[in-house]
Every structure is written in C-alpha cells, then in structure tokens.
C-alpha cells in the first residue's frame, strides 16, 4: 500500500526541488519577524533623526557591555551552526556540546543585558524618562524576549540530543539555528543603532 504524501509527490513531480517544509515555514516566519522589527526600527530611526538630542542620551550607555554582548551573540551563532554541522557529521554527543555552549552564551547575553538595565535604572533612566529610553527599553526588551524564546528552544534540543535522541532532533537544530541567527542579526543592527551612533 503506497499512500500519498508530499514526499511522494516530490518523487513523482519533475525535479523542481521543493524546500523542506520546516525550513520554508521558518523562513516565512522570519520574514514576518523582519517586518516586525522593521516597524520598530523604522520608528526609532525617524524619531532619532528628528531629535538630535538623543545622541547625548545614548552616551549614557556602556558601549563596552554592548560590544561584549555582540561578541557573545555572534559566538553563539557560530556555536549553533557548529551544532548543526555536528548533527550531520560527528553525532549527538558533539552536537550536545555545541548546543550547551549556545544555551550558555544566550544566558550570558541575558545576564549582561540585565546588568546594563539595572545600571541604567539605578542611574535614573527609566522607560518613562524620555523618548530615547522608551525606544531603548522596548527594542532591547523585545529582543531579549526573542533571545529567551531561543534559549528555551535550544535548551529543549540540547536535552533531546543529550538523551541520545538525535533522530527527532535531526533538522530541528538547523531550523532552531535559523531563528537564533535571525535574533543575532537583529542585535547586529540594534547595537550600532542604539550604542554607537
């Protein structure tokens, strides 16, 4: 008995290779996320252009901590893509090690972000302090929420990989990686937008 599925159709259909469903779905999701952050960033950019005074506000941020956090996220992006490679080549144990690193780096990012927020709140810069701070807390907060979600997803995959259940993990490391890289890319732009200019 041969039942029909999408895969069967792919075999039968001419080789106009279709993307894997999970990957296609993830990319579509990321496209919607791009325009979500796009809306927020566009709002920030125009307000910032209209209000030259915000540069002075931004000077209160610690460029050092921001830079360290950028390095942390870039490295975690590297580690999750290495986990993906390990799934394909070296196997579950190695993948689990890279995933552990990814999750840890994600947590380090959140900790550093938390330290920054504490410092800024302590210095009297709250979300209600002014326009720049409204955007600062909202943008970094929304990004941190995305980081948190990524840590949870990566953590689940880590547990599965550590339990030796590589098969169900399979391509999920790749899909989770796509999301994690996106979160990284958002930060790549947030860092100069908020800290550097």
């Amino acid at each position: 008995m041969t039942l029909y599925t999408a895969e069967a159709a792919r075999v039968a259909a001419p080789p106009a290779a279709l993307p894997v469903s999970g990957k296609l779905g993830m990319w579509l999701f990321l496209a919607s996320e791009v325009i979500l952050f796009g809306g927020l960033i566009a709002s920030y950019v125009v307000m910032r252009l209209a209000r030259p005074g915000w540069a002075a506000e931004s000077a209160h941020l610690s460029v050092m901590l921001g830079a360290v956090n950028t390095a942390v996220l870039l490295t975690s992006s590297f580690s999750i893509v290495m986990a993906h490679r390990a799934v394909d080549r070296e196997g579950a144990a190695v993948a689990a090690r890279w995933l552990t690193l990814t999750v840890l780096l994600g947590l380090v990012f959140l900790c550093i972000k938390g330290i920054e927020w504490r410092g800024e709140l302590g210095a009297g810069f709250a979300p209600s302090t002014g326009g720049f701070w409204s955007f600062y807390y909202t943008m970094t907060g929304l990004h941190a929420l995305h980081v948190t979600a990524g840590i949870v997803i990566n953590g689940i995959l880590l547990l599965l990989a550590a339990a030796g259940r590589l098969a169900p993990v399979g391509r999920r490391v790749e899909f989770a990686g796509l999301y994690w890289h996106f979160v990284d890319i958002v930060w790549i732009f947030l860092f100069p937008l908020i800290y550097l200019i």
């Binding site: 008995m1 041969t2 039942l3 029909y4 599925t5 999408a6 895969e7 069967a8 159709a9 792919r10 075999v11 039968a12 259909a13 279709l18 993307p19 894997v20 469903s21 999970g22 296609l24 779905g25 993830m26 579509l28 999701f29 496209a31 919607s32 996320e33 791009v34 325009i35 979500l36 952050f37 796009g38 809306g39 927020l40 566009a42 709002s43 307000m47 209000r51 709250a126 979300p127 209600s128 002014g130 326009g131 701070w133 409204s134 955007f135 807390y137 909202t138 929304l142 098969a167 169900p168 399979g170 391509r171 999920r172 899909f175």
Partner: protein, 575 residues
C-alpha cells in the same frame, strides 16, 4: 513547526493516524477539517455577538437614550435597564469593528474555508503542520476569551474605536477605560499570532503538499486567494505588532511613544496601524473573491473567464495594497506632500479589481446558469462588491474625502466591501461546501428566503446610509439628535434601523437551516453540484486522511466545463 513527514525519509505515510478518543478527535484535533469547523464555530459565535452589537448601535442611533428591546439583560454599568450611555456606545462601536474584522471575517474566510478547502483542493491529506494548525485555533480561542473577559473588568471594555488611535487609547483618563484597553491589545495580538501561524501553514501547504500534477497553473483560484492573503497578512502585520507593543508600553510602563507632551507622535500609530490596516482589507477580501470564483463556473457550467488575468490582477492588487495606507489619513494632519501620491495609488488599485470584476461578469456570458442558493449568494456578493468598489472611488479622491471622511458615507462604503465578502461570499461558500463539510445538503427553500431577506434588507440598510453620510452625519456619535444639522436625517436613520433589524432577523433563516440541515438534511452525494475541483472527488464528508487509499492525480485545470466532447472534465483522473 516541524513537519512529521520529514522524519520518514521514504515519505510514505499518513501525516497522523485517525485519533480514537473524544478529546483528540473533536477538541484537540489536528485534522484540518475538524479545525476548520472549530474556526467556523468561533466565527459564528462572534458573528452573533457582533450582530447584536450592530443592533444596539442602530437602535441607539434611531431612538437615542430610549430603552432598547431585548437588551434589559445587559448588566450595569454597561447598560441601565436597557438604556445606553455614550460610554457603552463607544464600547459597542469599538467592539463591533474589532469583532467583525478580527473575530468573524478572518476566522470564517481564512480559518474555516481556508483550512477546510486548501488541503482538499490541492490533494493533500492535511496541512503541512497539523499541530501548528491546532495551536493556531487554540490561540484564537484564547484571544476570544480575553476579548470576552475585557467586557467584565473594572472600567469596561475598550472604547477608543477599533483603530485605537492614541492618545485616546494610550491613557486611561481619556476614556475611563483601564484594563479593558490592555486586554483588547492582548486579544488582538493573540489573534495576530494565530493567523500568522495559520498563514505560514497555508503557504507551506500550498507550496509543498500539492498532489501529483497539481501545478501552480492548475490551482483553483481559492487556493491562490488564500495563499496571497496569507502573504499579505504576514508582510503587513509586523509593524502593527510593533505599534501595539509601543502602545502597551505607553499604558503600562509610562513610555511616551504616542504622548506629545513627552515628545511622542500620535501619528506614528496611525501610520503603523494603516500600514497593516489597508492590506488587511485584502486579506479578508481575497478569500471572498476566491469563493465567488469557485462557485460561478460550477453553476454557469463554463470556465472561469481569464483565470491567469485574475491571478495576475490579484498579485498586482496585493502588491499595490502596501502603498495605499495613508488614504485613511488624508485629513489626519499628515505632510501635504504625502497626500497626492497615496491618492493616486488608491485610485489605481481600482484597476486590478476592475479587471477581476470584469472577468467574473464575463464568466456569466454564454453560460447555462442554475440558481441554487450558493449561486444566488455568489451573484449577490458580486453585485454588492461592485457597489463597494465604486463608492470607494469617492473616498480615494483626497478632496472629496475631506468631506466624506469619518461620516456615515465611509461606514456604508466599507460595509459594502466587507459584507460582500464576509457575509455574502461566506454564505455562498457555506451553502456550497456544507455538503462536503457535514455530509448533508442545506435546505433550498429556506436558503432562498435567507438570500432574499439578506440581499433586500442589506441594500435597504446601506444605500440610505450613504445618504445620511452625505448629509454630514459623523461616525461614532451616540446621539444624532444633539446636532441641528442632523435632525432632518433622523427619519432616514430610523428607517435604516428598521431594515437593519429585518436584515438581522433574516439571519434566523440561516440559523434554522444550519441546525436543521445538520441534523435532518438530505444526505449529500460526493459531488452534488457536479463540480470539477478536487474536493468533490472524495466522499462527503471526507475520511480522516481525505483520500483513503486513493492518491489524487491531477490532470487538468480546475474549470474545464462545456469543453468539446464533454460537459465537464474533472481535475482528477478517475482510476
């Protein structure tokens, strides 16, 4: 998010086995057909609520401050023994809009018809991500509960319009509404999340799950419309989610995004809202046009005229819909240099839609027409849609919009466009696919009564509403008798209310028909309308895996009626 199909490299298995228990089967089901019915249930529930809100609004406009019949049960402080104050009137206009757009139109047109038809029409056994599908409908359920709860919190439900313009929506002291507005934002955000997941599912399903031989050029228009709607929604909703986050921060964290005294910009919300708001109209419109496009060929017994032109026009209109949003803001105080470009794009969007309408009308030429209820509603939808499109030209022209903006003319206009799809096309679809969904035919005589009641009283309600708007009556005012200018319009207002009540009463025909047919309707044949698209090749209702042991094989386009040598040539190859 992970497709089950991927875990089997050989790829020969059913997406999920048929569940046995009650809960997995009817409540937490991953079957697209069950999920479609759940969406339909949610949509119909809210349609009743939204319709009742419309009734209360209309009664208040005709007889301001007087006791509304059938409303004595509404507790204080919403209404006082059936009497309404301006606060609750504002809640009603806010909720009527929110409910009808987000909780009726989208669940029925996309959730119910999209979910039910997409896999069946392309020959799949289910959606690409069945569990994500279940998550979508349950997220919508959560959104519904939050919206429902918002009526009962201190301060009452949101009262700043479905557009929620700040600063009115940003600070409780402006409306007296506290949590209600926060819950409104939460409910709408959950609804967005639900349809975002659903839209991604639709798109991946359309791309990846098509049966053998189902090329893009053979897809029924409904599939094109649903997929295009999904793309449009996916690309437009982000900025509004960002705007909603900012609004929530303004309300809860004391930020000043929209507060001018803190350097914020109230107009920012309007831009981000309408960046989504205008494409959203097409998210609702396209599936409705898809339904009309499916039904006309079947009862005309001829191919859809200019299939490729319709698809092309749809894609063009969708792309253009991202460049028209500021026409909602001509007089909102936007920079003058933005006005005419947006007026031009707005008027231009009539071009692709004119093409679609002409193609649908051309489908009627040389036909051999039958007029069962679905056909009547499809023709009604076409007529109403044309009227809605034409009145839109007035509003699209920026100078005329100076006068018509925020009057009842615009109210009448968008009811013509939205009701044509949300109700006329949905009813057409319901009468048409009810046999496939539930395995029974709907009652024809009752259906015809329903159609004529709806068509007649709809036009009698909304044509005069244009006149009231031209007479200068503003939107969202609780008491027209407070204005000298409007006193002359009050008889017309009362007439509109009477016909609106009759329009609502006419819907009882549907309620009775629906319940009666569900229980006692004539059992349906597999292909009762002798239709060509793939969903009619399986049993009514389809089995859990849609096709049993058969593998759909598609050999031609969807509308091959009255071709040389054959009255109809179904899409599928008969084994």
């Amino acid at each position: 998010m992970i497709p089950r199909a991927d875990s089997a490299a050989a790829g020969v298995h059913v997406p999920h086995p048929e569940p046995r228990g009650f809960w997995r089967r009817y409540v937490f089901s991953t079957d697209h057909k069950t999920i479609a019915k759940q969406y339909l249930g949610i949509g119909l529930f809210w349609a009743v609520a939204g319709g009742f809100a419309a009734y209360l609004i209309r009664w208040q406009l005709a007889w301001p401050g007087e006791q509304v019949p059938l409303a004595a049960w509404i507790p204080e402080p919403m209404m006082f023994g059936g009497h309404m104050g301006p606060e609750f009137y504002n809640v009603l206009v806010t909720m009527h809009g929110t409910i009808m757009v987000f909780f009726v139109a989208m669940p029925i047109l996309l959730g119910a018809f999209g979910n039910f038809l997409l896999p069946l029409m392309i020959g799949a056994r289910d959606m690409a991500f069945p569990r994500l599908n279940m998550l979508s409908v349950w997220t919508l359920t959560a959104a519904s509960l939050v919206l429902l709860a918002s009526f009962f919190v201190p301060g009452g439900a949101a009262a700043s319009g479905w557009t929620a313009y700040p600063p009115l929506s940003a600070r409780p002291e402006y409306t007296g509404v506290g949590w209600g507005q926060d819950l409104w934002i939460l409910a709408v955000a959950l609804e967005f999340a639900s349809f975002l997941m659903g839209g991604i599912n639709f798109l991946v399903t359309t791309v990846n799950m098509r049966a053998r031989g189902m090329t893009f050029a053979r897809l029924p228009v409904m599939v094109w419309m649903q997929s295009t709607a999904a793309i449009v929604f996916m690309l437009s909703v982000g900025p509004l989610i960002a705007a909603a986050v900012m609004l929530l921060m303004d309300r809860l964290a004391g930020t000043g995004f929209y507060a001018p005294e803190a350097g914020g910009q109230p107009l920012l919300w309007q831009h981000l809202f309408w960046f989504f708001g205008h494409p959203e109209v097409y998210v609702i419109l396209l599936p409705g046009v898809g339904i009309i496009g499916e039904i006309l060929p079947v009862f005309c017994r001829k191919p859809l005229f200019g299939y490729r032109y319709i698809i092309g026009a749809t894609l063009a209109a969708s792309a253009l819909s991202f460049f028209t949003w500021a026409h909602h803001m001509f007089i909102a105080g936007i920079r003058n240099l933005l006005v005419m470009p947006f007026s031009v794009t707005t008027i231009l969007i009539s071009v692709p839609f004119a093409l679609i309408v002409f193609a649908l009308i051309a489908t009627l030429w040389g036909a051999s027409m039958r007029f069962p209820t679905p056909m009547l509603f499809a023709l009604g939808a076409l007529s109403v849609f044309v009227m809605g499109g034409l009145t839109g030209i007035f509003n699209g022209s920026a100078p005329v919009d100076i006068y018509l903006h925020d009057t009842h003319f615009i109210v009448a206009h968008f009811h013509y466009t939205l009701i044509s799809v949300t109700f006329f096309a949905s009813f057409a679809g319901l009468y048409f696919w009810f046999p496939k969904m539930f395995g029974r035919m709907m009652n024809e005589p009752l259906g015809k009564v329903h159609f004529w009641m709806t068509f007649l009283f709809f036009n009698l309600t909304f044509i005069p509403m244009h006149l009231v708007g031209i007479g200068g009556m503003m939107r969202r005012i609780a008491d027209p008798t407070q204005y000298e200018l409007l006193t002359g319009l009050q008889p017309l207002n009362r007439m509109i209310t009477v016909t609106a009540v009759l329009l609502l009463a006419g819907q009882l025909a549907l309620v009775v028909n629906f319940i009666w047919s569900l229980l006692r309707g004539t059992p349906a044949l597999d292909d009762p309308w002798s239709s060509n698209t793939l969903e009619w090749s399986t049993s009514s209702p389809p089995p859990h895996d849609n096709w049993g042991r058969r593998e759909p094989l598609v050999v031609r386009g969807p509308y091959e009626y009255s071709q040389p040598g054959a009255e109809r040539l179904p899409q599928w190859q008969v084994d």
